[in-house]
Amino acid sequence: MPRVRMKVDGITYDDEVEPRLLLAHYLRDRLGQVGTPIGCDTSNCGSCIVHLGGHSVKSCSVLTVQADGAEITTIQGLAQNGRLHPVQRAFADSHALQCGYCTPGMIMAAVDLLAENPSPSADEVRHGLEGNLCRCTGYQNIVKAVQAAAAELGAPTVPAATQEVPA
């Protein structure tokens, strides 16, 4: 069985995994990082989005073996030094969540969006989040939250992509 080694939310893990093990299941079932949910089986909903090598990816559509050597950040690792990320705080401020199931993926996608486009228009936010489905909010407050976070984040001092994983 292939061995993988990866850093998830700051902790390095070493494991033997089946090739078919989806990264989302590795995170949830093997590592106990259950903060990242799974919402569909066709790569539509985006609930499972994490950052891999500094970019948002749908963890249900990545094999664990593909993530070997990678650095991964999940919703559980987003806050730094005990402080919420501005996007997290903006979501709470703007009522950008109701049941909260899509929220981890939505926040991770939004963080990535702002890294790429630090000052998005409402339209650009909507397009940037088109890979994330929400059934509760109607998206309006999510757009508001992302733009509020953009304002707070200010100039593009975005975290550069960390270790770029080839796959």
């Binding site: 078919r20 299941h25 089986d41 790569s43 948002s56 990816v57 749908k58 990545v62 094999l63 796959a167």
Partner: protein
């Protein structure tokens, strides 16, 4: 929901990938970005015995210039394509169509080569590759060969790749002169596949259309090159009426299907309308 079990080989070079394919016989799948393959595996629509991961083969990545062509490594992600200055400069149509593929997270993993090798006529990039007369550089046990786009898309989800071949890179001839382009994608919702898409590149010639290249998405079992329309457009004034008349040919060489998303006649109608719109936009 989850794939059936398979063996896994991680190739370090193209040669290794080819060798693994040879060993696996008919029963292997090549894993590039996985954004087309993984959904198939998860829904158990495919049961490969071995998956060969080419994600860490350095020679498959990157975009470079090679004389009169821009060469895109097969493992170049959609995201990389969107940000590459060479592609923006010489193959703007590729960038525009790529921007409409799926969503940002999928574009971070999905690859240019993977999308082409998957040969889904409803995908956005095959029609673009066809319109731009791309050349696919393919490697098998016997070495490398070049397959023109017109021969690459053989049937629904079937490319000209033999079971023991890997798509290495795609050569896009640089278009000389003042070219404009547009990818018109008609979809019901943002996440949906194109009901019909039209990729148009137009060489502008003083208010007329010097030359047009048109590829159609989801108008058949393969992407379609609308050659009759291209012929009808040559020399035509870049105006609504004239272009519309030429665009009437758009569906001629196509055999669109009727399915859940659209009936054939509606697709044909859209092809005509979107061809007119795409050409007018490309013609400036």
């Amino acid at each position: 929901m989850i794939p059936a079990a398979f063996d896994y080989v991680r190739a370090g070079t193209v040669d290794e990938a080819v060798a693994a394919l040879v060993e696996a016989g008919d029963d292997a799948k090549v894993l590039a970005g996985g954004q087309s393959l993984l959904p198939l595996l998860r829904l158990r629509l495919a049961y490969p015995s071995v998956v060969i991961d080419i994600g860490r083969v350095p020679e498959l990545r990157g975009v470079r210039e090679d004389g009169a062509a821009v060469v895109i490594g097969a493992m170049t992600t959609h995201h990389e394509v969107l940000h590459d200055p060479l592609i923006r400069q010489h193959c703007g149509l590729v960038a525009e169509a790529t921007a409409s593929v799926a969503d940002p997270a999928v574009r971070h993993r999905g690859t240019f080569g993977g999308a082409l090798a998957h040969a889904d006529p409803a995908g956005d990039l095959p029609a673009v590759a066809l319109a731009l007369d791309a050349e696919m550089v393919v490697q098998g046990p016997g070495g490398r060969r070049t397959v023109p786009a017109a021969e690459f898309f053989v049937d629904y989800l079937t490319s000209a790749l033999a079971p023991d071949e890997v798509l290495v890179e795609v050569r896009l001839p640089k278009l000389a002169g003042p070219w404009g382009y547009r990818y018109e994608k008609f979809q019901r919702v943002a996440q949906a596949w194109a009901i019909v898409g039209v990729a148009a590149a137009v060489r502008r010639d003083n208010g007329s259309i010097g030359e047009a290249r048109i590829g159609l998405t989801n108008m058949g079992t393969t992407p379609i090159r609308a050659r009759a329309t291209e012929a009808a457009l040559a020399g035509v004034a870049a105006q609504e009426g004239a272009v519309a008349a030429a665009a009437e040919h758009a569906a001629e060489e196509a055999e669109p299907s009727s399915d859940l998303n659209a009936q054939a006649d509606y697709r044909e109608h859209l092809a005509r309308v979107l061809t007119r719109r795409a050409v007018l936009a490309a013609a400036g």
